[in-house]
């Protein structure tokens, strides 16, 4: 079975299996055709397969007449920021985010520095399926250009957005685990720009992931182990392209990735009041936080594209997901973990509170996330079957199956990246959350067989 996922803003698969030079070239050529030979920024995370996809993507973009502004190893949010700064036609980020080393992906960015919206994504896909790529003659071929000092430009921007003076004065000691991903070379520039003391972990951009590049408690052992020893104020875990982050408190508690978004929102919505966007799988914590600040909440399907485009459409101020991706509209409409970390540090500095105290202010829910492997040919029908299980309930079908009541909810959806069915359940009471999930899991296991 080949694992290949074509989403609205890109294509993801296993290298050497579904991700081949031909597939990468065809998708990059389709994207180059769509941007009409305008310059395209290209960056990648540190995966071993990065140079392969990079070379294939470059060749195809150049062949459609796009100049390539090559950022080399670059976190996706920085690439997104630079797309607008350099007035490029778009961007292509080569990263599989939180997926393990087998995977890689192309993620396409539009000229506004946002992941493609569903309509733009459909255009690229149509061109890809049609196979009619723009081909230019020798004189019109694109050229490869390096972009100098772009990290400085990005962190100058971030510095101006945040209250760097306050952060500096607080003399914070911060542990960051970059998982040897694209964030690794940018930790020091960030610490310099914002004036905190950095204790970097796994900060070699060599693509050897010491643990899954997914920011969540089970991957936090190293950070937890050193945070108390060095007396740091906070710890952060990043995914491979710095679009997701989770936090570890000064007491060594690894917070669920669900905390990141409400941690930011708690203060951010005080400063910028407006609608908040999240997806249907995210914890109710954010509902309580938004309600407390009189901000309406909009729920979308899972995925950065849906979140940031709802951000734009609803004129919202903040978007985020329970997976640890947060977009601060006042900075840029992208899941940006540098901005997220910076904002959390600023909150700690200005309010003079520890991270454990800030987390303690949030309502506690218990969330259970499970996944069941399922052949891609069957995932959708199996999810659809679940409707029978909930025949007595009101079902929200915006993204999979979601059923909600006063004390909690459960959602069943197909994974956007893997041949899996995801089950997420939440409740104020831990055992109830577990029960909500287990009931559905039992039903699904029966229907798969």
């Amino acid at each position: 079975m080949k694992l290949l996922k074509i989403g609205i803003s890109g294509v993801r698969g296993i290298v050497g299996d579904s991700i081949t030079p031909k597939l990468v070239m065809d998708f990059a050529a389709a994207f180059g055709t769509r941007v009409h030979s305008r310059p395209v920024l290209v960056g990648r995370d540190t995966r071993i397969s990065g140079p392969l996809l990079h070379a294939a993507g470059l060749a195809a973009l150049l062949s459609t007449g796009c100049d390539v502004l090559d950022l080399g190893i670059c976190p996706t949010p920085i690439l997104q920021y630079m797309v607008t700064r350099l007035k490029a036609g778009g961007g292509m980020s080569i990263t599989a985010g939180h997926n393990d080393i087998q995977w890689n992906a192309l993620s396409f960015i539009n000229q506004d520095g946002m992941t493609l919206n569903p309509f733009q994504g459909a255009e690229v896909l149509d061109i890809y399926h049609l196979g009619k790529f723009k081909k230019v003659s020798t004189d019109r071929l694109g050229r490869i250009r390096d972009v100098a000092l772009y990290a400085d430009e990005y962190f100058d921007g971030l510095r101006a957005f945040l209250d760097a003076e306050a952060i500096g004065k607080a003399r914070l000691k911060v542990v960051i685990d970059a998982c040897n991903g694209a964030g690794a070379p940018f930790l020091k520039p960030m610490a310099r720009a914002l004036g905190f003391e950095l204790i970097p972990v796994n900060h070699e951009p060599n693509g050897f992931f010491p643990h899954d590049p997914e920011p969540r408690p089970r991957n936090a052992q190293q950070v937890v182990a050193i945070i108390k020893a060095v007396g740091a104020d906070v710890g952060f875990l990043l995914n491979s392209d710095v679009s997701r982050v989770s936090c570890v408190t000064e007491t060594g508690e690894s917070l669920s990735e669900e905390f990141t978004f409400p941690l930011v929102a708690g203060q951010y919505l005080e400063d910028h009041c407006g609608p908040v966007v999240t997806n249907l799988s995210t914890s109710r914590m954010i509902e309580d936080v938004a309600r407390g600040r009189n901000c309406p909440l909009v729920r979308t399907k899972v995925g950065q594209s849906y979140a940031v485009h709802a951000l734009l459409q609803e004129d919202a101020v903040l978007a985020g997901e329970g997976s640890g991706g947060v977009a601060l509209a006042a900075f840029q409409p992208a899941f940006d973990s540098f901005a997220t970390m910076g904002y959390i540090l600023q909150t700690m500095a200005i309010r003079g509170r520890t991270i454990s105290r800030l987390a303690g202010e949030l309502p506690r829910y218990h969330i259970v996330k499970e996944k069941i492997p399922c052949p891609p040919s069957r995932v959708h029908s199996v999810v659809s079957e679940v409707k029978k299980f909930f025949r007595r309930h009101e079902i929200d079908e915006s993204d999979g199956i979601r059923v909600e009541d006063k004390s909690g909810w459960v959602q069943v959806r197909t994974s956007g990246t893997e041949p899996m069915i995801r089950i997420i359940a939440e409740d104020r009471v831990k055992s109830k959350a577990r029960k909500r999930a287990d009931e559905v899991i039992d039903f699904i296991n029966v229907s798969i067989q």
Binding site: I14, V15, G16, D17, T20, P21, K22, V24, M25, D26, A29, R47, I48, S49, P51, L52, L53, A55, A56, L58, A59, A60, L62, S63, I101, Q102, N104, K135, V136, S137, T138, D139, R140, L141, G142, R143, I144, R145
Partner: protein, 491 residues
């Protein structure tokens, strides 16, 4: 007449037109097939100075990486240095992104074996089978290799050259050399090589951004890219003198040779050298500022090498008869091969007695003692050593080469028509001379020869003659073309 296809996938490599037939997808698939064929390991990759080179090179790198090979990127590199490196670095092979003398909208891929030689026709067949079958190796992520850049790709070649020639002898003469690199890859090594040989060198057209490069995207956007009008002297088929050419200097000179000739005169150089774009061929300008003609490069090299070492000469059917005369005077055998560098090289590898010198009349000198490939640097070294050892001027040495006049002409016609024409002409000339059907039709007469050969790359049939005088050569061509005219309705 049938139009020539814009894509040629053949046993001599792949060539196509950018923006049309030669896509990154195709280059990537071919490279992945090559990586599958060589079975992994390091593969040297490089390119000539064409503007489409960077694009195709990326596709080649992607294809090789995907097959589990480790591409070693040498960037723009002279072909002989590239080939030598492929052998010395114990690589699995190499891919060169080049279309040698084709116009700039073309580009192509040349495939190189672990021995640092172009794939032989048999090897190409095997490799192309894999490409056509489409059964490629896809390395899983944990088997992928890292791309490596080689910043000093010419070093092993330079070291070999300096060790091969009598550098002290050459250095003592303190030659003054005028050098035209044609803005090709040769500029990376040639000035340094000559400097190491103690020559005072005046270099022109030494920016290896290629005579092809141009900056049509507005000023300032791409610094360092300039439009260069100087083109290489040597064109593989001698198009610029399709009317006929000769070993002496009676023909008018094209603009781009005048520059090096003037430079030789102005700087009072002992000799002028001209390299083609990928630095495998060499033309010579004498101390009087007159170009020698391409055929003389190999003739002079053979004259020197055969005087120094015992052995044979290998060259193709269309190379000047002066080679036979030079070899006969030293009782050295001459082996003639089909046209195409690889055919000459294959014979060099098996010739008995061993070849001491080989090459083609287009300025491609092969010095087997260095590496069995066309090598303009080896050619320069030989000429300089010849000058130093003989103590004579290049114009004096030139006079010792038997004088012949060669006329290269062509007529329109497909390969198929050329094939039939060869059969008919053979009957016409039956019994008149020594006939060879090795490559087209070549007939040796006591005082001249003629050669008729369909082109591999264009819909033309090449007709060539050579004789002691221009009038005799022209007469031979006139007769040949008249015969062809009479046979026209039969082909």
């Amino acid at each position: 007449m049938k139009k020539i296809s814009s894509l040629k996938i053949s046993i001599s490599g792949v060539r196509g037109i950018i923006g049309d037939s030669l896509t990154p997808q195709l280059a990537g698939a071919l490279s992945q097939a090559f990586g599958t064929y060589v079975g992994g390991g390091p593969v040297i990759v490089g390119r000539d100075a064409r503007p489409s080179g960077p694009m195709l090179l990326q596709a080649v790198i992607a294809g090789l990486l995907s097959s589990g090979c480790q591409p070693i990127d040498v960037g723009i590199c002279p072909i002989p240095s590239f080939l030598f490196l492929a052998k010395e670095a114990k690589s699995s092979g190499g891919i060169s992104v080049t279309a040698s003398h084709n116009p700039k909208e073309w580009n192509g891929l040349k495939f190189i074996s672990r021995d640092g030689l172009y794939l032989t026709p048999h090897q190409m067949e095997e490799f192309l089978d894999i490409y056509h079958q489409g059964d490629f190796t896809y390395a899983p992520p944990d088997r992928l290799k890292a791309l490596r850049a080689e910043s000093q790709p010419v070093e092993p070649h330079l070291k070999k050259l300096l060790g091969y020639f009598n550098a002290d002898l050459i250095r003592r003469r303190k030659f003054k050399v005028a050098l035209d690199c044609g803005n090709g890859a040769g500029a990376i090594l040639a000035p340094r090589f000559l400097q190491e040989l103690g020559c005072e060198t005046v270099v022109i057209n030494a920016v290896p951004d290629g005579s092809f490069a141009h900056g049509g995207r507005g000023p300032g956007l791409y610094p360092g890219v300039h439009f260069r009008r100087t083109r290489p002297l040597i064109q593989a088929t001698g198009e610029w003198r399709a009317e006929g050419s000769s070993l002496d200097q009676s023909e008018p000179l094209p603009e781009n040779i005048k520059e090096i000739c003037r430079t030789v005169v102005k700087s009072r150089a002992d000799v002028g050298f001209v390299q083609d774009a990928d630095a495998d061929r060499l033309a010579i300008v004498n101390d009087k500022g007159r170009p020698l003609g391409e055929e003389l490069t190999l003739a002079l090299a053979a004259q020197y090498m055969l005087g120094k070492k015992k052995g044979s000469v290998v060259c193709n059917l269309s190379t000047t008869r002066a080679i036979d005369d030079i070899a006969a005077a030293r009782k050295a055998p001459v082996f003639r091969t089909k046209i195409g560098e690889i055919n000459v090289v294959e014979k060099v590898l098996t010739a008995e007695p061993a070849a001491v010198i080989a090459g083609e009349g287009n300025g491609g000198v092969i010095l087997p003692g260095v590496h069995p490939c066309r090598d303009s640097f080896a050619g320069m070294g030989l000429i300089l050593e010849y000058l130093a050892a003989s103590g004579r001027t290049i114009s004096a040495l030139q006079k010792r080469v038997p004088r012949y006049v060669m006329i290269k002409d062509k007529i329109e016609g497909s390969a198929e028509q050329g094939y039939r024409l060869v059969g008919l002409l053979k009957k016409r000339y039956e019994g008149e001379g020594r006939i060879s059907l090795l490559d087209g039709l070549k007939i040796d007469f006591p005082d001249h020869w003629i050669h008729v050969r369909p082109s591999n790359t264009e819909p033309i049939i090449r007709v060539i003659s050579e004789a002691r005088t221009e009038s005799a050569a022209k007469a031979a061509i006139r007769r040949l073309k008249k015969e062809i005219e009479e046979l026209k309705n039969q082909i």
